[in-house]
């Protein structure tokens, strides 16, 4: 062997690879949050929508230079408040910390892919936090988890994850309901066609804002995690900056993921929950953009997914005669409730496997499990594929897959704008 690869160097490489994979799944899982409504109303063609969203995510990832190094502090005790790893983790090139972060990321990726397969929008940040919590419990015990902070500010699993998750869909739904109601009241005398074409522009604008906000919020989390791993290993020391290559890699990964488009989730959000018109689409995205940007500006980040879903539900409530499919909504809520514990179980089990087998074998085995599960989910998705051509096919109440007899579903797109 010419180059001796130490175990910790291998772990560092696996952490970076898994983190970038997570960032990619974060992108395609969340395309729907911004673009599902524009695709469903035909304001944008599916491919145009994901391309626009990807470009704005890329810009967003570079725009926000605020350092997200302390991202794990919300849920686990492995860093101090400056973002540096706690000194007890620096031994052995940060072996324990690298293993926890690695297994936590696996939990996040696996859960993101499973919910994508089921077509359920679930929070990528919850999946990441869940994975980290599970791996931390397995590695350091329950005291390693920041359950509720010290009570002086909103912190910990309770303050930063659980409470916001319960409140954000309601807040977004209230805003979107009011917005939708107002829009329909104000434009009561306007002809249908004129209204549709006018609001399409508003819809595209507001959806773009949500994409931009997503890029500024979510890409940073992965940047923070990779930088933490680099510091723990000892190849980076600056806690006020993220290495440029990390920034570029994460921005590209989230944009590429967004461009790939999580069509299954786009379909659920755009067609499954509520049948929406352009004015509703605009009300939903305006509500999402306002709630996400306001909350993150107040230092109180809400999950993009929970907000977007609440907004879309709200537009169904705000328009007289619109039908909300509560069965679909309930499935989503169920997915949200189990996201954190499920990702935690995956993260925890991975840590136990890696730690029990130990050394190179442990790291390689858990990575192989990740690759195996990813391949399995992708293969399963091929059975009932959802893509840009059939994403808008009529919603079949019995299953969330496109109706089998919808060969030219692309023609479903209403071309009322002539």
């Amino acid at each position: 062997m010419i180059l001796a690869v130490t175990l910790e160097l291998l772990l560092l490489a696996l952490v970076i690879l898994t983190a970038i994979t997570f960032d990619f799944t974060n992108g395609f899982h969340d395309t729907a949050n911004a673009m599902a409504t524009s695709i469903a109303t035909g304001a944008l063609k599916p491919k145009t929508a994901v391309t626009l969203s990807a470009a704005l995510n890329l810009i967003g990832a570079f725009l926000s230079v605020e350092v997200a190094l302390t991202v794990t502090n919300a849920v686990v005790h492995i860093q101090d408040s400056s973002g540096a790893p706690k000194p007890e983790f620096l031994a052995n090139h940060g072996h324990v910390l690298l293993l926890i972060v690695f297994c936590g990321l696996i939990g996040g990726v696996v859960w993101n892919l499973l919910t994508w397969l089921l077509g359920l929008p679930s929070s990528s940040s919850h999946a990441l936090f869940g994975g980290l919590i599970g791996a931390t419990i397995a590695g350091l015990g329950f005291s390693g988890v920041n359950w509720a902070g010290d009570g002086s500010k909103l912190d910990g699993v309770l303050g930063k994850v659980i409470l916001p998750a319960f409140a954000s869909p309601f807040v977004a739904a209230i805003v979107a309901t009011i917005g939708t109601w107002l829009i329909y009241r104000i434009t009561a005398g306007v002809a249908e066609r004129y209204k549709e074409s006018g609001f399409r522009w508003g819809q595209i604008g507001t959806a773009s804002l949500v994409s931009l906000a997503h890029g500024t919020n979510d890409a940073q989390k992965t940047m923070g995690v990779i930088t933490l791993a680099l510091i723990a290993y000892g190849v980076w020391t600056d806690t006020t900056q993220v290495p440029t290559w990390v920034k570029i890699a994460c921005a590209l990964a989230i944009a590429l993921g967004t461009y790939t488009g999580g069509w299954r989730i786009i379909r659920t959000l755009g067609k499954g929950l509520v049948e929406i018109e352009s004015p509703q689409g605009m009300a939903a995205e305006a509500s999402s953009a306002a709630v996400i940007l306001t909350s993150s500006h107040l230092g109180f980040a809400l999950s993009t997914t929970h907000v977007a879903t609440g907004s879309i539900l709200g537009t169904g409530l705000g328009k007289r005669g619109a039908e909300v499919r509560w069965g679909v909504a309930l499935r989503m809520v169920a997915a949200w409730l189990i996201t954190l514990p499920a990702a935690a179980i995956v993260g925890g089990v991975m840590y136990l496997i890696a730690n029990t087998l130990g050394g190179y074998l442990g790291a390689i085995v858990v990575f192989a499990i990740l690759v195996g599960l990813m391949s399995f989910f992708v293969m399963r998705s091929r059975r009932k594929p959802v893509h840009s051509g059939n994403v808008n096919a009529d919603w079949d109440a019995d299953s969330n897959a496109p109706a089998a007899a919808a060969p030219a579903a692309g023609s479903e797109m209403k071309e009322t704008l002539s």
Binding site: I186, V190, L209, M282, V291
Partner: protein, 96 residues
């Protein structure tokens, strides 16, 4: 914890309603005015065009665009360590 949480969520709700429902409402007024300006098939009532409607319509849409641009400016600038001050009514950027 609960107190802090309710305060934070209350703020988000208040600003969310103002911006997230208020701006779409202004945009809707824009569409309403433009339809009034265009007249004919643009309106359910098929009235004759009113040029004043077109002016008011574009004004509403311009207001919405201006607020959105300001919003983006606030977010981007805070990422670079600036904040926006409304001290002199016209927004200005300040370091720190």
């Amino acid at each position: 914890m609960m107190q802090l949480f309710l305060t934070a969520i209350g703020q988000v709700l208040l600003i969310g309603v103002l911006i997230g429902a208020g701006l779409p409402a202004i945009f809707a007024f824009g569409i309403r005015f433009l339809a009034y300006g265009a007249g004919g098939d643009a309106e359910v009532s098929h009235e004759k065009p009113h040029p004043l409607g077109t002016v008011l319509g574009y004004l509403c849409i311009a207001i919405v665009l201006a607020v959105i641009l300001l919003g983006i400016a606030i977010i981007v600038s805070s990422g670079f360590g600036y904040h926006v001050s409304f001290e002199h009514i016209i927004p200005t950027f300040k370091k720190g």
